[in-house]
Structures are given as structure tokens and as C-alpha cells.
Homo-oligomer: 197 residues x 2
DNA sequence: AGTATTTCCTGATTTAGGTCAAGCCCCTTC
DNA sequence: GAAGGGGCTTGACCTAAATCAGGAAATACT
């Protein structure tokens, strides 16, 4: 079995008991793709044909508002799915841009293969149900956090929640993810280190 | 078939082709419950044993922060599911409160029945996958909106998205849902009516 | 009908965080 | 090793929305 699929199958096995037989079938639906740092996987206005599973590297999805500001929607590193969901599901134009923050390898799953896979391998139906279910619970708390917490709380909570990824991200991207300005993050960092001494 | 189930089955049929036979089985897993206005379905700290489908009325889920402010997470009226998802799925203490804004009838589905139903009726596995998938897409756009838009944009977008429900909600609840103060909503309304004359 | 409780409005003041601007440091890349 | 471009910091200033406070409408309760 190809090396890159290990990450995917570990992720699946974590949620449902997948057999070697199923793995073979599942594999056949995916296509592998490599991306250089800064390379687009999807641009606003395109039709989003795939959902992608990151096996190596780091990606982001983001929107651009009228003033030209980028707002990061999601980071996806090893073991995460990324896509313009609304576009993928409902078939409309993508509102999101997706690009690589580091050199990245992804496994692409097209709409047709997604549907096919779900019917042919019922276990995968269950896998995605569980996956979505969990992300819903996560999204809920992010939303609450975005509405209720202060800038400082958002920042420290982000670092607590994703300690490993903090290192890999320039702080202006974290700012964009949290809906804060880079300057604010900078000031918060200063304040925190000052308090700790 | 009991009347209250109509709303549920319409909702299901909208996503997957459910048979009369399946309906019988599905029905058996639910329990019906009536709630008076202001009555709790779940309080913070309880174990969330159910997800609930609203067949009539209007409910909300909300958190309370350290300062005692309520932040509404979700409104659920006819045809919506409501629950403390994280709690229901992972079995930990509820962080959300859920109560009735109007007199409400819900159909309760316990964790055990949920799991049982999903295995016994594979079609329901698919239904929930599609349901979650769609809510994910919706949540995404609400999150982006919470981060990027101004108070006025959030308010008008809310009314555009849920025109029917605007009437049924006092505006302090809308404010709480949008993460704004009631005063701000009041001023926005004033501004809008002034502009329109 | 009359009281109580929400709900809503409006003004004055405060504040968190954004915006603008300038300079520095650290990588790349010729 | 110079030149350029990100990324980060810091200061001065600004603004959207929160908070505080008071009263007016509107609902609900007996």
C-alpha cells in the first residue's frame, strides 16, 4: 500500500473498524497531488470538485472581503480534510480560496467518487457521519469563542488548543484566523511575556 | 401515524428516500415531550442524554459567561434539531443551556437509541451524514460572518436569512445570537427606518 | 382595569481593538 | 554582500460598539 495512505487509514481506523479489503476499495477513489508552498488548490469562483485530505504539510482556506482583507477559515495539516464545503456539496461557485502554507501532499476525492464510495462502502458513510458530527461540535465552540471572548482569550485559547501548530504558523495568519489584526497579536504577546517576568 | 411525526418525516424525506416500513422503526426510537415557554430542556452541567427535534414551537441553546451574559448559540423551530452536541457525542457535562422561547413540542432521541437506530436503519446514517454536512456548510458562513461583518450587516443578514423567524423573536434574543448588545440593535433599526424614509 | 415585568428606545461616556505609519530584523535570491 | 520582501514591533490616533443610566411602550398576570 502506498505510503501516503497510512495517514488517511489511521484517521479512518480511529473512527470506524476498517478492513484491509475496504482499504483497497477506498484507495481507488483517491488521487494524490503535491503542492508547493503558496500554490492554490482552489480559487474563489472556481467550481470546487474535490474534498482533500492532507497527508503532509499545511494548508489554509480563506475568504477575501470587499476591503481586500483575508479571513482564514480553517487550517488543515496532517490528518485534516479541507474543502469549500458549501461549494462541494451544493455545486455552486467556491467562495473560499485554498492554498498551501507549506509544501503539501493531499489526497483528492471528487464529488462523483465521494458519492460512489459512500454507497459502495457503507462504513465510509459512517466514517463521514462521525467526522462531521465531531467537527460540528468543534465549530460550535469556535463560534461561541469568536463571539464571547476577548482578543487575548482567543489567542491563548488557540495556542492551548493547537500547541503543535502554533510554531508552524506566522502570527499574521493566526491573527487572520482569529479575526484580529497582526498588531493586536503582537501587543498581546508583549503583554503576556511582561506578565510572566 | 402520530401527527407530530409528520414534521420529522418530511424533514427526513427531504434528504433521503424513506419507506413506510422504515418510518415505523424510526418512530419507535423517539419519545415525545412538551415544554412550556421558559421551561428548560437542558441545563449547564447536566448530562445531555438526548438530541431533540422540534415539531412545534421555538427553542434556543445558549451559554452564560463569567460576567453572567447569555450568548445564544442556536435557535431551533419546526424542523430543527437542537442539543448540546459536544456533550451528547462525547458524553461530557453540558456546557449549554437549552430552553423554550415558546410553548414547544419536541421528539427526544437518546444516545442509545441514536446508535441503535443508525445501525438498524442504514438510511438514517445517511440522513445524519447529509444533515451534518449541510449544517457544517451553514456554520462556516456564520463564523465568517461573525468575524468579518459589521453589526448592521450581521443584523440585516440575519433577517434576510431567517425572515420568518424575525417576527417571533424579541430583539434582545437576536442581539444575543449575533453577539451584539440590544442597544446596538435598537440603534440599527432606527438608522434603517430613517434611511428608508 | 391596574399592576408588574419585560422589552425597547435614546443619550452620554468608555473602551477594545483597528488603522496608519515608521523602523527593524531576518530570510531569500541574485 | 547588496537588495528586496516578509514578518514583527511600537507608537499615535480613531472608531465601532459596549456599557451605563433613565425612561417609555408594550405584554402578561390577577
Amino acid at each position: 500500500m502506498e505510503q501516503v495512505f497510512n495517514v488517511l487509514f489511521e484517521h479512518i481506523a480511529d473512527k470506524v473498524p476498517i478492513t484491509e479489503r475496504d482499504k483497497e476499495v477506498v484507495m481507488s477513489f483517491f488521487r494524490r497531488k503535491k503542492l508547493r508552498k503558496r500554490q492554490y488548490l482552489l480559487q474563489e469562483g472556481d467550481v470546487c470538485k474535490y474534498i482533500s485530505f492532507v497527508t503532509e504539510g499545511l494548508m489554509r482556506s480563506y475568504t477575501v472581503d470587499e476591503k481586500g482583507n483575508e479571513h482564514i477559515n480553517l487550517f488543515a495539516w496532517e490528518g485534516w480534510w479541507i474543502s469549500d464545503f458549501a461549494g462541494f456539496i451544493f455545486g455552486n461557485e467556491a467562495k473560499l480560496n485554498i492554498d498551501a502554507i507549506e509544501d503539501t501532499t493531499v489526497l483528492l476525492l471528487s464529488v462523483e467518487n465521494y458519492e460512489k464510495m459512500l454507497t459502495e462502502v457503507p462504513l465510509m458513510e459512517r466514517y463521514f457521519r462521525v467526522l462531521y458530527q465531531n467537527s460540528l461540535a468543534t465549530k460550535d465552540s469556535r463560534l461561541i469563542s469568536a463571539i464571547t471572548h476577548t482578543a487575548e482569550e482567543k489567542y491563548t485559547m488557540f495556542l492551548d488548543t493547537y500547541p503543535s501548530i502554533g510554531q508552524r504558523l506566522p502570527q499574521n495568519l493566526i491573527a487572520s484566523y482569529l479575526g484580529l489584526s497582526p498588531e493586536t497579536i503582537s501587543r498581546i504577546k508583549k503583554k503576556i511575556t511582561e506578565t510572566n517576568t
